[in-house]
């Protein structure tokens, strides 16, 4: 793995995570009217754990192996029909997640652009 791959690995994983989380949150909104539906979410803590394992504990490939897992949110308060989807909370999380995604694509873009500059041999 060269330096370019290494610096890209984390960005790539963040994009995996934001995409999986957007899927989970969008599905929650779709199920907002279904009685008994329990909201799902993807935890970024898993990604952080994988990064720590790789960097601090020298577990090679821990980051590469990590995949986002949608899990049922057990702490969300159910409404009268047992559904745990709350529009406002869901929407705020969707916006937050989309900003994180944008930030990660921004990083990826600037890396790709500098790579392009290096290949072409001139700036821009």
């Amino acid at each position: 793995m060269n330096d370019f791959d290494k610096s890209f690995a984390v960005t790539q994983k963040i994009l995996d995570w934001t995409t999986a989380r957007a899927r989970a949150l969008t599905t929650n909104i779709a199920h907002a009217s279904e009685p008994g539906y329990k909201r799902v979410d993807v935890s970024f803590a898993d990604l952080l754990d994988a990064m720590r394992a790789e960097r601090d504990h020298g577990q090679k490939g821990a980051l590469a192996r990590a995949t986002p897992k949608p899990e049922v949110d057990l702490f969300a308060a159910p409404s009268a029909n047992g559904n745990t989807v709350d529009f406002e909370r869901e929407q705020v999380q969707i916006d937050k997640n989309s900003m994180t995604h944008e930030l990660a694509t921004f990083f990826a873009n600037s890396k790709l652009n500098s790579m392009r500059s290096a290949i072409r041999g001139h700036a821009s």
Binding site: T19, A22, A30, H31, A32, Q91, D95, E102
Partner: protein, 146 residues
């Protein structure tokens, strides 16, 4: 099911939009028929009710393979008769009144229908806005290739 996972979100949201629209249509039908004392079957109009059911995606079968498994797929609206007694109103001279002057009216509560309508339209909008954000995220990702 060879479709990319990213595009299944469109189907899930589309199913929710369709289900909420069905719900709105049924509410409109209930309100329109709220005074119908004699429907096709000779009885007063019976309120229709929409129930939501989760459609488990085939994706669930592939669960455990790790890659982006979600516990549920789209949703489906099921329309059926709502239970509940017809209202009885005293209105002698009404063409459907019985010999004592009582008329049976549909089991539709217009106020309830209006509240339900607001809920349905709000859910519809929330789905639209979630879909918009998802689309925006995908195009951001695609822009990286430029």
């Amino acid at each position: 099911m060879s479709e990319p996972l990213s595009f299944q979100v469109f189907d899930i949201t589309a199913s929710a939009l369709a289900a909420e629209r069905t719900r709105l249509a049924v509410i409109a039908q209930n309100i329109a028929n709220s005074e119908v004392t004699k429907a096709a079957n000779g009885q007063p109009y019976r309120r229709q009710r929409v129930q939501f059911e989760g459609v488990l995606a085939q994706e669930v079968a592939r669960r455990g393979k790790g890659q982006g498994s979600l516990p549920a797929g789209g949703i489906r609206a099921i329309v059926g008769d709502a239970p509940g007694d017809f209202q009885r109103v005293r209105d002698p001279g009404h063409k459907d009144a019985d010999k004592d002057g009582w008329v049976q009216k549909p089991n539709v509560n217009v106020v309830e229908e209006m509240v339900d309508m607001i809920d349905a339209s709000r859910t519809y909008e929330a789905n639209l806005s979630a879909l918009r954000t998802w689309k925006q995220m995908l195009s951001r990702t695609l822009e990286m290739t430029r």
